[in-house]
């Protein structure tokens, strides 16, 4: 995981999207926070894929079904539509090839849930525009030289990518800086400006 635990308000949003007893694959499952939450509240049949061995060992010791692997290379080993939901939370921006990864998510899951930090948020724009510095915020605490986040996008960028891949956005939620949902009635430009994080439910 590339963002720390206290800020993971998006996890609740993700959990709300998943019906009880679903089959769920969590890509980038970290220390198993989301999987454990889903097992406790939704009794899901959950699996995880995690890059760091430390995270995997911790998950397995906690009784979760997690394997060590890389979202960029190992998703191809999963069967078509093997899961009801494939979740990629706060990891897309850290993959080498986000388009291929998203394509795989849509292949493996009946639905894909993707959450990511919005690079179009006003603080990010402000930092670059006024300060002339790469943004370092509460959500994105890394300096440009040590960040694992190599492929940032804005909410608008992401919507375009979904269109390119033939994915339908079934539901989208943006969270503002306080973790509050932004009203559905608001236009895209508003989301893209005030949404600090976004959670998308996709289908193809």
């Amino acid at each position: 995981m590339t963002v720390n635990r206290a800020q993971r308000v998006d996890l609740e949003v993700v959990t709300d999207l998943i019906p009880a007893n679903s089959r769920v694959l969590d890509v980038g499952s970290g220390d198993g926070l989301l999987l454990e939450l889903l097992q406790e509240t939704k009794q899901v049949d959950g699996r995880g894929l995690e890059l760091s061995q430390r995270g995997v060992n911790e998950c397995v010791a906690r009784g979760l079904s997690v394997i060590q692997g890389d979202a960029d290379t190992d998703l191809e080993f999963y069967a078509d539509k093997g899961f009801d939901f494939v979740v990629l939370s706060q990891t897309l921006q850290a993959t080498r090839n986000p388009k291929v990864v998203l394509d795989q998510l849509l292949r493996i899951g009946n639905r894909a849930i993707v959450s990511f930090p919005n690079f179009g948020h006003w603080r990010v724009r402000f930092s670059l525009l006024i300060k002339g510095r790469m943004p370092v915020t509460k959500d994105l605490p890394y300096s440009w030289y040590d960040t694992p986040n190599i492929h940032f996008c804005t909410i608008r960028d992401f919507v375009n990518l979904c269109e390119e891949l033939g994915a339908t956005v079934e539901k989208a939620t943006a969270l503002d800086a306080n973790g509050q949902k932004i009203g559905l009635s608001m236009p895209w430009w508003f989301w893209n400006f005030f949404g600090q994080q976004a959670v998308f439910l996709l289908k193809r």
């Binding site: 397995v60 979760l64 080993f77 999963y78």
Partner: protein
Amino acid sequence: MPAQRAARTNDEADHPSSPVLQFGSDKPLKLDAGSLLSPFQIAYQTYGTLNDARSNAILVCHALTGDQHVANTHPVTGKPGWWEVLIGPGKIIDTSRFFVICSNVVGGCLGSTGPASTNPATGKPYGLDLPIITIRDMVRAQAMLVDHFGIEKLFCVLGGSMGGMQVLEWAASYPERVFCALPIATGARHSSQNIAFHEVGRQAVMADPDWHGGKYLDFGKRPEKGLAVARMAAHITYLSEAALHRKFGRNLQDREALTFGFDADFQIESYLRHQGITFVDRFDANSYLYLTRAMDYFDLAADHGGRLADAFAGTKTRFCLVSFTSDWLFPTEESRSVVHALNAAGASVSFVEIETDRGHDAFLLDEPELFAAINGFIGSAARARGLSA
């Protein structure tokens, strides 16, 4: 003492000091080689109590030179059971909670029918007249033992190395009889390099004049030198360069300087010689040939049309695989290919790679991360199976 121990090992082949289950001509063991083995016997140990629902049984599969004495003092060597760090009352595999079964593999030499057992047709030890035994044959025999206990479904099957091969075979052959499977430091096939090492070992045994074409027991002999060399070569593959360097370096054995001769100048030489000598007292040379062959022949994908995922199609078994970073006998890639196949089959699978410099043998040692993984996996599986803590 070594001679006495060797005699004891010979005795164990027919009359083991553990319980033994005999199968008469009505229950032959069907072998992959095409013939039937009958009569035959399985020597085994159990620990703990089988619950009324018969749902708390754990089958432990032993490795190449292991045996059924997994959690009790060994009858020949007097040493603790080979997995006593893991199995026992109050331990990670708690025998006050689970019913643990461990049997000597068919082809072994501690009481299950093997080349040192008496061939009823001749009244002499089988020697090389025993048909070649495969991993699947071993598992088929274990299933007959499990039937004997009236156990329909094992809670868990676990083991390392050759034991891990049996675990994979169990999951592939009897998916409905295995609730969870824990193959450690193993692979779905023996690699070319592994076959090569085994061939060196077998040739060392066969080159010993005391081997007598496999009939050494008829001559009251044992090919100890050949078997010791086989063990020395194999033992190197169980360790890692880093561990050898850490333990022995280039340290000299009980001397200040090189002797300019072929004595065991170095500690590593002395250590290996010791490993070789102590091994031959407790193991039968022909058994070593048969069991290494069984591992060489193992190729689970080949048994399922070349696609490993098909070996596990539709499986409901929960899997947890474990590998070690410094294991060069069964490197992590071997486990990972099994994990990929299980993923493709849609199976529930966990996979842990443990960082250690102790090589392949790490599975037998006190490795906290290994124990944490086993504990987490077995614990959650037990909850899913409805077994109370």
